[in-house]
């Protein structure tokens, strides 16, 4: 096989990997802090894509520049979800928690379907079009910008999580709710922050993805399945693990795509099942 093809595949895999990581981080952040799986994560992503789409249609904003707005909106949605739903089911059996966010997913998808119909929509006015050549490798400019933004957003989140007091308080809460509370950390506030951050990151991811993909009410499902694989591989509760796992899955998907495209997701999910069986805590899970 041609060296250029291999390099192109690896590059494409790494770029998609960062995008998958950004899509997955919010899911894992919330799980890490609260041990609640947000099944409506995919719907958050979908709503963010619609926000970017409508901003583009109405104001001509490039989807990448719409990221702060959609991040803010979905962060707010995360806060509302926590305040109105999650807080009420926190003491309920785990199954009730699962169904509450799953119900939210179904509701949001149905709402999108009702408001915007099932039509496939495409962002038409984008500032980043065309193709750039990097040492003979070809990359769509839009994809490159998206990957760069995903890296940047992830880096900012890492900084926040590891370097700020609030970030450390989040980590402490993740380790033990009780101990954190005893140390004077307002865990309720930490829960709220994890939902805001989880929403904001997937909100930004949605805006980035809007310039690459068609937008329709169930688009979130496609990505959120991959996100679950990423979270499991990286380890529940580990943000760093999520980043590595995103990259690994992006690479596997692309390399498998060269050899056996029909089975590329089979390979990804076989890995998913293998990890669950042989290393249930994932690469860097606690």
């Amino acid at each position: 096989m041609d060296l250029a093809v291999i390099l192109q595949t690896l590059l494409s895999g790494v770029m998609m990997g960062f995008v998958y990581a950004l899509v997955s981080i919010g899911l894992n952040l919330i799980y890490g802090v609260m041990e609640i799986i947000n099944f409506s994560h995919g719907a958050f992503l979908m709503l963010a894509m619609y926000i970017a789409y409508w901003l583009n249609v109405m104001a001509g904003t490039d989807p990448v520049l719409a990221a702060p707005a959609s991040g803010l909106a979905i962060g707010l949605l995360g806060a509302l979800t926590y305040k109105l739903i999650i807080k009420r089911v926190m003491k309920a059996p785990a199954l009730a928690q699962v169904f509450s966010t799953f119900g939210l997913l179904v509701f949001l998808e149905a709402l999108a379907h009702f408001l915007w119909t099932a039509d496939y929509r495409t962002v038409e006015k984008t500032a980043f079009s065309g193709v750039v050549s990097l040492f003979g490798l070809r990359v769509g400019l839009a994809k490159l910008v998206v990957a760069a933004c995903a890296i940047l957003t992830t880096a900012v989140l890492f900084w926040f999580y590891n370097r700020t007091k609030t970030g450390k308080a989040l980590q402490a809460t993740a380790i033990s709710h009780r101990a954190a509370k005893l140390m004077g950390i307002d865990t309720d506030r930490m829960f709220l922050i994890s939902w805001i951050l989880g929403g904001a990151t997937v909100g930004m991811a949605g805006a980035f993805l809007a310039s690459l993909y068609n937008i329709f009410p169930t688009i979130g499902t496609t990505f959120v399945l991959l996100a679950f694989a990423v979270v499991v591989l990286g380890g529940f509760g580990s943000i760093t693990g999520t980043l590595y796992a995103g990259l690994i899955i992006g690479l596997i998907e692309n390399v498998a795509g060269i050899f056996a495209p029909a089975f590329k997701y089979a390979v990804v999910y076989a890995l998913f099942i293998g990890v669950i069986v042989f290393r249930p805590k994932g690469l860097l899970g606690r």
Partner: protein, 423 residues
Amino acid sequence: MSGRYGLFVMVLLLAAALVATACAGQKAEEKKIVKVGVIYPMTGDLAAVGNDHKAIMELAQEIINGEYDLNIPLAKTRGLPNLKAELQLVFGDSQGKPEIARSEAERLINEEKVVALLGAYASSSTAPASQVAERYGIPFMTPESTRADLTERGFKWFFRNIPYDRMAVESQFKFLAAVRDKGINVGNLGLLYENSLWGQGAAQEQRGLAAKYGFTIVVEVAYPKEITDVTSEVLKLKAAKVDTVLSTNYINDAILFMKAFKEQDFTPGAIIGLEGGMVAKEFIPSLGKDAGYVLTTATWSPALIETKPIVGKINAMYKEKHGKNISAYQPHAFTAVMVMADAINRAGSTEPEAILKALKATDYPGESLIMPWKGVKYDEKGQNIYGDVPILQILDGKYEVVFPFELASKQLVWPAPPWSERK
């Protein structure tokens, strides 16, 4: 006290009288209703298709039940005159999933008591749904499922209007052979197809016909249709030095591939689609000029709105209601309602055997169809023998007929100019 009581009784009586008259009025106007079941993906990732189909099928129902001055059987009269009944379509949602298509077929037959079924878009849904109809002895007509072997199952109750994949694929190869005869270099073929029932079926036909017509397939790339990144698939095609791509895609994947072709600067001499995504209404708007020069088989073309009067009229009615033109597979769905209603009317009965007999005797006139076909007439397998498959090319943002050459609305462009030379 008694006064208030009296008032209460009076109000009660008045209400009862009102209800009674309303009921009587309804009874006098009540008509017999003949229900036909329709199964389409109304939710899920194919929902756009299902909802569009529903919209145009409701228009067909309106035309049948009302009086319209159109050269279409049943348009000028109200309802189904031989049964003195109105047609009612009952919709079921397959969600694009085979198992749900099956259970919806059961529900429509058992609970809604439909006399016939139409549907179900994806061949993988049509197969199980029509199996249910076969078991119950209810006619099933598919307007648009193209997998070839649907009509090879020896079913008694199954009918198909659209030319099936083998006919469309055959059309691709007749076209390739004709192009080769003109002295154009067709070169090596590469197959690109979504890896479910439809794509696999098409690829199988293509392999057989390539051998028959003397073309070489150098690479096959099958991929899952829920794909999110297609770079490696495109690299595989590019590395194999493919000159002509035969591409079998749904809409989402079709768009991803076109974007990746451009990104990886892969310009085969021709990309030839098999309907599906390449003729979906989002294809050109999503890609703009990057959709240019794509070739595809299509049993229907928007060019017909201008060239065939009946298509123009139906399109105008649809546009008035929904604010957009009819597109892609909608005309098939409309046609199926018309052909089925016509058969039920000719049967003069809702007995399944009578409807079956009428369907077998169908000889629907071409001039009443909003399709480019000579008509609708079924062979013993239930396949419409009058379906034709022209080849279209996207030129200046429009679908133009380029083959058969004698029907061409524009001159074929082959090879397609490389991405760098397109403006």
